[in-house]
Protein backbone atom coordinates (compact mmCIF):
# COMPACT_ATOMS: atom_id res chain seq x y z
CA UNK A 1 0.00 0.00 0.00
CA UNK A 2 2.59 2.53 1.07
CA UNK A 3 4.96 1.67 -1.77
CA UNK A 4 2.14 2.12 -4.18
CA UNK A 5 1.46 5.57 -2.78
CA UNK A 6 5.09 6.58 -2.99
CA UNK A 7 5.18 5.49 -6.58
CA UNK A 8 2.05 7.44 -7.35
CA UNK A 9 3.48 10.54 -5.80
CA UNK A 10 6.62 10.31 -7.81
CA UNK A 11 5.27 9.12 -11.13
CA UNK A 12 1.55 9.65 -10.96
CA UNK A 13 -0.85 8.10 -13.37
CA UNK A 14 -2.03 9.97 -16.33
CA UNK A 15 -5.70 9.84 -15.38
CA UNK A 16 -5.05 10.87 -11.78
CA UNK A 17 -6.02 14.32 -10.81
CA UNK A 18 -4.37 16.08 -7.90
CA UNK A 19 -6.22 18.95 -6.34
CA UNK A 20 -5.61 21.02 -3.28
CA UNK A 21 -8.48 21.19 -0.87
CA UNK A 22 -7.74 24.30 1.09
CA UNK A 23 -5.95 26.14 2.61
CA UNK A 24 -8.91 28.45 2.11
CA UNK A 25 -11.63 25.88 1.69
CA UNK A 26 -14.50 26.61 4.09
CA UNK A 27 -15.03 23.00 5.05
CA UNK A 28 -11.49 22.56 6.31
CA UNK A 29 -12.48 24.95 9.13
CA UNK A 30 -9.26 26.84 8.98
CA UNK A 31 -6.06 26.95 7.05
CA UNK A 32 -5.49 23.30 6.35
CA UNK A 33 -4.37 22.07 2.96
CA UNK A 34 -5.26 18.59 1.88
CA UNK A 35 -3.51 17.43 -1.23
CA UNK A 36 -6.02 15.01 -2.66
CA UNK A 37 -5.28 12.58 -5.43
CA UNK A 38 -8.45 11.69 -7.28
CA UNK A 39 -9.29 9.01 -9.69
CA UNK A 40 -12.50 10.27 -11.13
CA UNK A 41 -14.40 11.26 -8.06
CA UNK A 42 -12.77 8.71 -5.79
CA UNK A 43 -10.08 9.73 -3.38
CA UNK A 44 -6.99 7.64 -4.02
CA UNK A 45 -4.95 9.10 -1.23
CA UNK A 46 -4.62 12.38 0.50
CA UNK A 47 -1.76 14.14 2.03
CA UNK A 48 -2.38 16.75 4.73
CA UNK A 49 -0.07 19.75 4.71
CA UNK A 50 0.04 21.49 8.03
CA UNK A 51 1.81 24.52 9.36
CA UNK A 52 -0.05 27.42 7.81
CA UNK A 53 -0.96 28.79 11.21
CA UNK A 54 2.12 27.70 13.11
CA UNK A 55 2.93 30.27 15.76
CA UNK A 56 5.61 28.42 17.63
CA UNK A 57 3.65 28.27 20.85
CA UNK A 58 5.92 25.61 22.33
CA UNK A 59 8.96 27.74 21.67
CA UNK A 60 7.29 30.90 22.90
CA UNK A 61 6.52 29.15 26.17
CA UNK A 62 10.22 28.82 26.85
CA UNK A 63 10.57 32.58 27.11
CA UNK A 64 7.66 33.42 29.38
CA UNK A 65 6.51 32.55 32.86
CA UNK A 66 4.02 29.89 33.76
CA UNK A 67 1.26 32.39 34.40
CA UNK A 68 1.79 33.86 30.98
CA UNK A 69 1.77 30.48 29.26
CA UNK A 70 -1.90 30.11 30.14
CA UNK A 71 -3.01 32.71 27.66
CA UNK A 72 -1.10 31.01 24.85
CA UNK A 73 -2.75 27.67 25.45
CA UNK A 74 -6.12 29.33 24.89
CA UNK A 75 -5.05 29.82 21.34
CA UNK A 76 -4.28 26.22 20.53
CA UNK A 77 -7.65 24.58 20.60
CA UNK A 78 -9.68 27.70 21.05
CA UNK A 79 -12.92 25.77 21.43
CA UNK A 80 -11.56 23.94 24.48
CA UNK A 81 -9.73 26.92 25.91
CA UNK A 82 -10.64 26.08 29.45
CA UNK A 83 -9.34 22.52 29.29
CA UNK A 84 -6.07 23.69 27.79
CA UNK A 85 -5.63 26.19 30.60
CA UNK A 86 -6.42 23.55 33.14
CA UNK A 87 -3.83 21.14 31.78
CA UNK A 88 -1.02 23.65 32.23
CA UNK A 89 -2.29 24.69 35.63
CA UNK A 90 -2.39 21.11 36.80
CA UNK A 91 1.17 20.47 35.67
CA UNK A 92 2.37 23.43 37.68
CA UNK A 93 0.29 22.49 40.70
CA UNK A 94 1.62 18.94 40.53
CA UNK A 95 5.18 20.11 40.36
CA UNK A 96 4.82 22.48 43.29
CA UNK A 97 2.60 20.03 45.16
CA UNK A 98 -0.01 22.68 45.73
CA UNK A 99 -3.35 21.43 46.89
CA UNK A 100 -5.97 23.53 45.13
CA UNK A 101 -9.13 24.29 47.09
CA UNK A 102 -12.11 22.05 46.56
CA UNK A 103 -14.11 24.98 45.22
CA UNK A 104 -11.64 25.48 42.42
CA UNK A 105 -11.86 21.84 41.42
CA UNK A 106 -15.63 21.99 41.24
CA UNK A 107 -15.68 25.19 39.24
CA UNK A 108 -13.03 23.92 36.88
CA UNK A 109 -14.92 20.73 36.22
CA UNK A 110 -18.13 22.63 35.62
CA UNK A 111 -16.38 24.92 33.20
CA UNK A 112 -14.83 21.93 31.46
CA UNK A 113 -18.22 20.51 30.81
CA UNK A 114 -19.72 23.83 29.74
CA UNK A 115 -16.85 24.27 27.37
CA UNK A 116 -17.27 20.77 26.03
CA UNK A 117 -20.94 21.46 25.44
CA UNK A 118 -20.21 24.72 23.66
CA UNK A 119 -17.63 22.99 21.53
CA UNK A 120 -19.90 20.09 20.61
CA UNK A 121 -22.68 22.51 19.79
CA UNK A 122 -20.43 24.38 17.41
CA UNK A 123 -19.28 21.12 15.90
CA UNK A 124 -22.88 20.12 15.38
CA UNK A 125 -23.64 23.37 13.58
CA UNK A 126 -20.59 23.11 11.40
CA UNK A 127 -21.04 19.45 10.63
CA UNK A 128 -24.57 20.05 9.47
CA UNK A 129 -23.41 22.95 7.39
CA UNK A 130 -20.64 20.92 5.79
CA UNK A 131 -23.28 18.49 4.63
CA UNK A 132 -25.51 21.24 3.32
CA UNK A 133 -27.93 21.75 6.21
CA UNK A 134 -27.60 25.45 6.87
CA UNK A 135 -30.42 25.45 9.41
CA UNK A 136 -28.36 23.58 11.96
CA UNK A 137 -25.87 26.38 12.04
CA UNK A 138 -28.39 28.83 13.41
CA UNK A 139 -29.93 26.46 15.88
CA UNK A 140 -26.63 25.35 17.31
CA UNK A 141 -25.30 28.85 17.66
CA UNK A 142 -28.51 30.00 19.30
CA UNK A 143 -27.95 27.55 22.15
CA UNK A 144 -24.23 28.07 22.32
CA UNK A 145 -24.88 31.72 22.95
CA UNK A 146 -26.36 30.85 26.34
CA UNK A 147 -23.12 29.20 27.44
CA UNK A 148 -21.02 32.03 26.10
CA UNK A 149 -23.15 34.48 28.05
CA UNK A 150 -22.40 32.57 31.24
CA UNK A 151 -18.70 32.77 30.39
CA UNK A 152 -18.91 36.44 29.60
CA UNK A 153 -20.64 37.25 32.83
CA UNK A 154 -18.15 35.38 34.96
CA UNK A 155 -14.86 36.09 33.29
CA UNK A 156 -15.38 38.73 30.69
CA UNK A 157 -14.54 36.85 27.56
CA UNK A 158 -16.49 34.44 25.50
CA UNK A 159 -13.98 32.25 23.75
CA UNK A 160 -10.47 32.67 25.10
CA UNK A 161 -11.01 32.99 28.79
CA UNK A 162 -7.57 32.71 30.42
CA UNK A 163 -9.55 32.16 33.56
CA UNK A 164 -7.29 29.62 35.20
CA UNK A 165 -4.05 30.48 36.79
CA UNK A 166 -1.62 28.10 38.46
CA UNK A 167 -3.12 27.49 41.87
CA UNK A 168 -6.70 28.37 41.14
CA UNK A 169 -8.76 30.88 39.24
CA UNK A 170 -8.11 34.48 38.29
CA UNK A 171 -11.05 35.69 40.34
CA UNK A 172 -14.20 34.24 41.75
CA UNK A 173 -17.15 33.40 39.55
CA UNK A 174 -20.07 35.76 39.28
CA UNK A 175 -22.76 35.41 41.98
CA UNK A 176 -25.25 34.50 39.25
CA UNK A 177 -23.10 31.63 38.05
CA UNK A 178 -25.03 28.76 39.60
CA UNK A 179 -28.43 30.13 38.77
CA UNK A 180 -27.57 30.72 35.15
CA UNK A 181 -26.17 27.24 34.73
CA UNK A 182 -29.31 25.76 36.19
CA UNK A 183 -31.39 27.83 33.81
CA UNK A 184 -29.23 26.70 30.97
CA UNK A 185 -29.53 23.01 31.85
CA UNK A 186 -33.28 23.32 31.91
CA UNK A 187 -33.29 25.22 28.65
CA UNK A 188 -30.93 22.91 26.83
CA UNK A 189 -32.65 19.74 27.96
CA UNK A 190 -35.65 20.99 26.02
CA UNK A 191 -33.66 22.02 22.99
CA UNK A 192 -31.39 19.02 22.57
CA UNK A 193 -34.15 16.74 21.20
CA UNK A 194 -34.62 19.31 18.45
CA UNK A 195 -31.13 18.53 17.27
CA UNK A 196 -32.13 14.93 16.75
CA UNK A 197 -35.29 15.85 14.93
CA UNK A 198 -33.53 18.34 12.72
CA UNK A 199 -30.47 16.40 11.75
CA UNK A 200 -30.01 12.95 13.27
CA UNK A 201 -33.24 11.57 11.93
CA UNK A 202 -32.98 13.28 8.58
CA UNK A 203 -32.78 10.76 5.80
CA UNK A 204 -30.52 12.85 3.58
CA UNK A 205 -28.09 13.33 6.40
CA UNK A 206 -28.14 9.66 7.35
CA UNK A 207 -27.52 8.56 3.80
CA UNK A 208 -24.56 10.85 3.57
CA UNK A 209 -23.06 10.02 6.96
CA UNK A 210 -23.59 6.30 7.30
CA UNK A 211 -21.08 3.80 6.07
CA UNK A 212 -18.29 6.20 5.18
CA UNK A 213 -14.95 6.91 6.83
CA UNK A 214 -14.57 3.49 8.34
CA UNK A 215 -11.95 3.60 11.09
CA UNK A 216 -11.31 0.31 12.82
CA UNK A 217 -10.35 0.20 16.45
CA UNK A 218 -6.84 -0.86 15.43
CA UNK A 219 -6.48 2.14 13.17
CA UNK A 220 -7.72 4.45 15.89
CA UNK A 221 -5.22 3.09 18.38
CA UNK A 222 -2.47 2.96 15.80
CA UNK A 223 -2.81 6.61 14.92
CA UNK A 224 -3.58 7.72 18.47
CA UNK A 225 -7.02 8.99 17.58
CA UNK A 226 -8.63 10.02 20.84
CA UNK A 227 -11.70 11.82 21.99
CA UNK A 228 -15.12 11.29 20.46
CA UNK A 229 -13.53 10.32 17.15
CA UNK A 230 -11.70 7.44 18.79
CA UNK A 231 -14.66 6.45 20.91
CA UNK A 232 -16.75 6.16 17.76
CA UNK A 233 -14.49 3.22 16.95
CA UNK A 234 -15.05 1.61 20.33
CA UNK A 235 -11.64 2.73 21.61
CA UNK A 236 -12.01 3.53 25.28
CA UNK A 237 -9.83 6.59 25.71
CA UNK A 238 -11.66 8.97 28.00
CA UNK A 239 -9.09 10.55 30.31
CA UNK A 240 -11.90 11.62 32.61
CA UNK A 241 -12.43 7.92 33.32
CA UNK A 242 -8.90 6.57 32.97
CA UNK A 243 -7.11 9.19 35.05
CA UNK A 244 -9.73 11.35 36.74
CA UNK A 245 -8.79 14.91 37.53
CA UNK A 246 -10.82 17.73 39.03
CA UNK A 247 -13.88 16.13 40.58
CA UNK A 248 -14.56 13.66 37.81
CA UNK A 249 -14.08 10.85 40.31
CA UNK A 250 -17.04 12.14 42.30
CA UNK A 251 -19.59 12.27 39.52
CA UNK A 252 -21.49 9.54 37.77
CA UNK A 253 -21.18 9.51 34.04
CA UNK A 254 -20.78 7.04 31.24
CA UNK A 255 -18.03 6.89 28.73
CA UNK A 256 -19.83 6.87 25.41
CA UNK A 257 -18.61 4.14 23.11
CA UNK A 258 -19.98 3.30 19.67
CA UNK A 259 -19.14 0.30 17.57
CA UNK A 260 -20.20 1.71 14.22
CA UNK A 261 -16.69 3.01 13.41
CA UNK A 262 -18.08 5.26 10.68
CA UNK A 263 -18.88 8.94 10.42
CA UNK A 264 -22.33 8.44 11.85
CA UNK A 265 -20.92 6.61 14.89
CA UNK A 266 -18.65 9.55 15.66
CA UNK A 267 -21.65 11.81 15.26
CA UNK A 268 -23.65 9.74 17.72
CA UNK A 269 -20.86 9.77 20.30
CA UNK A 270 -20.83 13.54 20.36
CA UNK A 271 -24.58 13.78 20.58
CA UNK A 272 -24.62 11.38 23.51
CA UNK A 273 -21.76 13.25 25.16
CA UNK A 274 -23.87 16.37 25.25
CA UNK A 275 -26.42 14.52 27.37
CA UNK A 276 -23.66 13.23 29.62
CA UNK A 277 -22.23 16.72 30.05
CA UNK A 278 -25.64 17.98 31.05
CA UNK A 279 -25.95 15.28 33.67
CA UNK A 280 -22.46 16.00 35.03
CA UNK A 281 -23.34 19.66 35.28
CA UNK A 282 -26.53 18.81 37.08
CA UNK A 283 -24.67 16.77 39.68
CA UNK A 284 -22.10 19.47 40.32
CA UNK A 285 -23.83 22.77 40.10
CA UNK A 286 -25.59 22.59 43.45
CA UNK A 287 -22.61 21.26 45.33
CA UNK A 288 -19.97 23.92 44.76
CA UNK A 289 -18.37 24.25 48.20
CA UNK A 290 -17.56 27.62 49.67
CA UNK A 291 -13.94 28.56 49.97
CA UNK A 292 -11.09 30.38 48.33
CA UNK A 293 -10.87 30.70 44.60
CA UNK A 294 -7.15 30.19 44.61
CA UNK A 295 -4.48 28.50 46.65
CA UNK A 296 -1.70 30.57 48.16
CA UNK A 297 0.94 30.97 45.50
CA UNK A 298 4.16 32.89 45.28
CA UNK A 299 4.09 35.71 42.76
CA UNK A 300 6.97 34.14 40.85
CA UNK A 301 6.34 30.50 40.08
CA UNK A 302 9.47 28.41 39.75
CA UNK A 303 9.16 24.70 39.19
CA UNK A 304 11.77 22.45 40.77
CA UNK A 305 14.06 20.92 38.16
CA UNK A 306 12.54 17.84 36.64
CA UNK A 307 9.99 16.56 34.20
CA UNK A 308 6.26 16.86 34.64
CA UNK A 309 3.44 15.42 32.67
CA UNK A 310 -0.31 15.74 32.79
CA UNK A 311 -3.20 14.88 30.53
CA UNK A 312 -6.74 16.13 30.24
CA UNK A 313 -9.65 15.30 28.04
CA UNK A 314 -10.53 18.23 25.82
CA UNK A 315 -13.57 18.30 23.60
CA UNK A 316 -11.51 16.66 20.86
CA UNK A 317 -9.43 14.14 22.70
CA UNK A 318 -6.42 13.77 24.86
CA UNK A 319 -4.27 16.81 25.49
CA UNK A 320 -1.02 16.02 27.21
CA UNK A 321 1.36 18.61 28.55
CA UNK A 322 4.96 17.76 29.18
CA UNK A 323 7.24 20.21 30.92
CA UNK A 324 10.95 20.01 31.48
CA UNK A 325 12.06 22.48 34.07
CA UNK A 326 15.56 23.47 35.04
CA UNK A 327 14.43 25.33 38.10
CA UNK A 328 13.91 28.69 36.45
CA UNK A 329 10.77 30.68 36.15
CA UNK A 330 10.45 29.68 32.51
CA UNK A 331 10.15 26.10 31.36
CA UNK A 332 13.20 24.60 29.71
CA UNK A 333 11.02 22.77 27.25
CA UNK A 334 7.29 22.65 26.88
CA UNK A 335 5.59 20.09 24.75
CA UNK A 336 1.92 19.76 23.93
CA UNK A 337 0.51 16.55 22.60
CA UNK A 338 -2.57 17.95 20.93
CA UNK A 339 -5.46 15.71 19.99
CA UNK A 340 -6.14 17.18 16.57
CA UNK A 341 -2.68 16.47 15.26
CA UNK A 342 -3.18 12.73 15.62
CA UNK A 343 -6.79 12.93 14.55
CA UNK A 344 -5.84 14.63 11.30
CA UNK A 345 -3.29 12.14 10.10
CA UNK A 346 -5.68 9.24 10.22
CA UNK A 347 -7.52 10.93 7.39
CA UNK A 348 -5.58 9.29 4.59
CA UNK A 349 -6.41 5.91 6.06
CA UNK A 350 -10.11 6.50 6.51
CA UNK A 351 -10.93 8.69 3.53
CA UNK A 352 -9.15 6.93 0.68
CA UNK A 353 -11.50 4.87 -1.38
CA UNK A 354 -14.47 7.12 -0.74
CA UNK A 355 -15.84 9.92 -2.89
CA UNK A 356 -14.57 13.45 -2.56
CA UNK A 357 -17.94 14.60 -1.23
CA UNK A 358 -17.55 12.04 1.55
CA UNK A 359 -14.18 13.52 2.39
CA UNK A 360 -15.94 16.65 3.62
CA UNK A 361 -18.20 14.59 5.83
CA UNK A 362 -15.28 12.58 7.16
CA UNK A 363 -13.18 15.61 7.99
CA UNK A 364 -16.21 17.18 9.62
CA UNK A 365 -16.74 14.12 11.76
CA UNK A 366 -13.18 14.33 13.05
CA UNK A 367 -13.96 17.83 14.32
CA UNK A 368 -10.60 19.35 13.53
CA UNK A 369 -9.43 22.66 14.94
CA UNK A 370 -6.49 23.74 12.82
CA UNK A 371 -4.65 26.06 15.25
CA UNK A 372 -4.44 23.08 17.57
CA UNK A 373 -2.69 21.03 14.88
CA UNK A 374 -0.14 23.69 14.00
CA UNK A 375 0.13 25.42 17.37
Amino acid sequence: MSEEIIQDVIIGESEDYIINLGPQHPSTHGVLRLEVCLKGETVKYLNPHVGYIHRGIEKMCEAITYQQIIHLTDRMDYLSAHMNNEAVCMVVEDALQVEVPERVKYIRTILDELNRLASHQLWWCAFGMDLGALTTFFYGLRDREHILDIFEESFGSRLLHSFNTPGGLMHDVHPNFQKRIKDFIKYFREKLPEYDQLLTGNIIFQNRAKGIGYMSKETAIGYGVTGPSGRGSNFSCDIRKIAPYGVYDKVQFNEILETGCDTFARYKVRMAEMWESLSILEQLVDNIPEGDFTAKMKPVVKLPAGEYFRRVETARGELAVYVVSDGNKNPYRMRFRTPNFSNLFVMNEIASGYKIADLIAISGSLDLVIPDIDR
Binding site: Q67, Q68, E153, S154, H171, L198, G201, N202
Partner: protein
Amino acid sequence: MNSIAEYFTDLYKGISSLWAGMRITGKYFFSPRAIVTQQYPENRKTLKMEDRFKGEIIMPHDADNLHACTGCGICEMNCPNGSIEILSDRVANAEGKMERIIDKHIYHLSMCTFCGLCVKTCPSDALAFGQEFEHAVFDRNKLTKVLNQPGSKLRKEAK
Protein backbone atom coordinates in the same frame (compact mmCIF):
# COMPACT_ATOMS: atom_id res chain seq x y z
CA MET B 1 -41.26 -6.57 -6.12
CA ASN B 2 -38.94 -6.13 -3.19
CA SER B 3 -37.28 -3.12 -4.67
CA ILE B 4 -40.62 -1.44 -5.25
CA ALA B 5 -41.55 -1.89 -1.58
CA GLU B 6 -38.15 -0.58 -0.62
CA TYR B 7 -38.60 2.40 -2.85
CA PHE B 8 -41.86 3.35 -1.20
CA THR B 9 -40.64 2.81 2.37
CA ASP B 10 -37.64 4.99 1.58
CA LEU B 11 -39.91 7.60 0.14
CA TYR B 12 -42.13 7.47 3.19
CA LYS B 13 -39.18 7.63 5.59
CA GLY B 14 -37.66 10.48 3.65
CA ILE B 15 -40.80 12.55 3.68
CA SER B 16 -41.51 11.90 7.34
CA SER B 17 -37.97 12.79 8.41
CA LEU B 18 -38.15 15.90 6.30
CA TRP B 19 -41.46 16.74 7.93
CA ALA B 20 -39.96 16.28 11.41
CA GLY B 21 -37.33 18.88 10.63
CA MET B 22 -39.73 21.23 8.87
CA ARG B 23 -42.04 21.15 11.85
CA ILE B 24 -39.33 22.66 14.05
CA THR B 25 -38.27 25.33 11.60
CA GLY B 26 -41.94 26.08 10.98
CA LYS B 27 -42.61 26.37 14.68
CA TYR B 28 -39.94 29.03 15.05
CA PHE B 29 -40.94 30.72 11.84
CA PHE B 30 -44.41 31.39 13.19
CA SER B 31 -43.48 32.31 16.75
CA PRO B 32 -41.89 35.75 16.77
CA ARG B 33 -41.24 35.51 20.48
CA ALA B 34 -38.54 32.94 19.86
CA ILE B 35 -36.41 35.41 17.90
CA VAL B 36 -33.04 35.78 19.56
CA THR B 37 -31.29 37.98 17.05
CA GLN B 38 -30.13 41.31 18.39
CA GLN B 39 -30.41 44.22 16.01
CA TYR B 40 -26.86 45.48 16.33
CA PRO B 41 -25.90 48.28 15.57
CA GLU B 42 -29.42 49.72 15.78
CA ASN B 43 -29.57 48.79 19.47
CA ARG B 44 -26.32 50.53 20.31
CA LYS B 45 -28.00 52.85 22.79
CA THR B 46 -29.48 50.08 24.87
CA LEU B 47 -26.69 47.58 24.45
CA LYS B 48 -24.98 46.96 27.73
CA MET B 49 -22.02 44.66 28.16
CA GLU B 50 -21.46 42.60 31.27
CA ASP B 51 -19.59 44.37 34.06
CA ARG B 52 -16.63 42.07 33.77
CA PHE B 53 -16.44 42.26 30.00
CA LYS B 54 -12.86 42.61 28.83
CA GLY B 55 -13.05 45.28 26.17
CA GLU B 56 -9.88 47.20 26.78
CA ILE B 57 -7.60 48.21 29.62
CA ILE B 58 -8.47 51.48 31.27
CA MET B 59 -7.10 53.41 34.19
CA PRO B 60 -9.98 54.75 36.25
CA HIS B 61 -9.60 58.41 37.22
CA ASP B 62 -11.72 60.05 39.87
CA ALA B 63 -13.39 63.47 39.73
CA ASP B 64 -10.20 65.29 40.73
CA ASN B 65 -8.31 63.67 37.87
CA LEU B 66 -6.40 61.41 40.24
CA HIS B 67 -5.40 57.83 39.51
CA ALA B 68 -3.75 55.12 41.55
CA CYS B 69 -0.79 54.20 39.34
CA THR B 70 2.58 54.58 41.02
CA GLY B 71 4.59 53.74 37.93
CA CYS B 72 6.09 50.64 39.48
CA GLY B 73 6.18 48.77 36.18
CA ILE B 74 4.83 45.48 37.44
CA CYS B 75 2.13 45.40 34.80
CA GLU B 76 4.73 46.01 32.10
CA MET B 77 6.77 43.11 33.44
CA ASN B 78 3.82 40.76 33.61
CA CYS B 79 2.37 41.47 30.22
CA PRO B 80 3.22 38.54 27.96
CA ASN B 81 2.95 40.56 24.76
CA GLY B 82 4.72 43.77 25.63
CA SER B 83 1.54 45.75 25.18
CA ILE B 84 2.30 48.02 28.11
CA GLU B 85 5.13 50.54 28.25
CA ILE B 86 5.74 52.61 31.35
CA LEU B 87 7.56 55.88 30.97
CA SER B 88 8.32 57.21 34.41
CA ASP B 89 9.92 60.37 35.67
CA ARG B 90 11.86 61.08 38.79
CA VAL B 91 10.86 64.20 40.61
CA ALA B 92 11.71 65.63 43.97
CA ASN B 93 8.89 65.42 46.48
CA ALA B 94 8.12 67.73 49.37
CA GLU B 95 10.91 66.34 51.54
CA GLY B 96 13.42 66.71 48.75
CA LYS B 97 13.69 62.98 48.08
CA MET B 98 13.60 61.76 44.52
CA GLU B 99 10.41 59.87 43.80
CA ARG B 100 9.28 57.89 40.85
CA ILE B 101 6.09 59.07 39.21
CA ILE B 102 4.33 57.94 36.13
CA ASP B 103 4.83 60.03 33.06
CA LYS B 104 3.04 57.98 30.44
CA HIS B 105 1.32 54.65 30.80
CA ILE B 106 1.28 53.53 27.18
CA TYR B 107 -1.06 50.75 26.23
CA HIS B 108 -1.03 49.06 22.82
CA LEU B 109 -4.50 47.73 22.37
CA SER B 110 -3.46 46.15 19.09
CA MET B 111 -1.09 43.79 20.88
CA CYS B 112 -3.24 42.99 23.89
CA THR B 113 -4.66 39.50 24.26
CA PHE B 114 -6.87 40.34 27.24
CA CYS B 115 -5.23 37.83 29.49
CA GLY B 116 -5.96 40.00 32.51
CA LEU B 117 -2.54 39.61 34.11
CA CYS B 118 -1.86 43.33 34.31
CA VAL B 119 -5.15 44.01 36.07
CA LYS B 120 -4.63 41.12 38.44
CA THR B 121 -1.03 41.85 39.35
CA CYS B 122 -1.17 45.63 39.73
CA PRO B 123 -0.39 46.22 43.41
CA SER B 124 -2.36 49.45 43.59
CA ASP B 125 -5.41 48.32 41.61
CA ALA B 126 -4.84 51.11 39.17
CA LEU B 127 -6.05 49.23 36.11
CA ALA B 128 -9.42 47.85 35.16
CA PHE B 129 -11.19 46.47 32.14
CA GLY B 130 -13.38 48.81 30.16
CA GLN B 131 -16.53 47.76 28.36
CA GLU B 132 -15.85 49.49 25.06
CA PHE B 133 -15.63 46.95 22.28
CA GLU B 134 -15.90 48.86 19.01
CA HIS B 135 -12.22 49.20 18.33
CA ALA B 136 -12.18 49.20 14.55
CA VAL B 137 -10.04 52.02 13.16
CA PHE B 138 -8.31 52.70 9.87
CA ASP B 139 -4.94 53.49 11.36
CA ARG B 140 -3.43 51.09 13.83
CA ASN B 141 -1.52 53.85 15.58
CA LYS B 142 -4.85 54.98 16.95
CA LEU B 143 -4.90 51.82 19.02
CA THR B 144 -1.93 52.98 21.04
CA LYS B 145 -3.29 54.84 23.99
CA VAL B 146 -1.93 56.76 26.92
CA LEU B 147 -3.91 55.60 29.89
CA ASN B 148 -3.14 58.32 32.40
CA GLN B 149 -5.04 61.42 31.42
CA PRO B 150 -3.09 64.62 30.82
CA GLY B 151 -2.52 66.52 34.03
CA SER B 152 -3.59 63.63 36.20
CA LYS B 153 -1.80 62.89 39.45
CA LEU B 154 -1.26 60.02 41.79
CA ARG B 155 -3.93 59.74 44.41
CA LYS B 156 -2.28 60.08 47.83
CA GLU B 157 -3.78 57.61 50.22
CA ALA B 158 -5.21 59.23 53.31
CA LYS B 159 -2.82 58.41 56.08
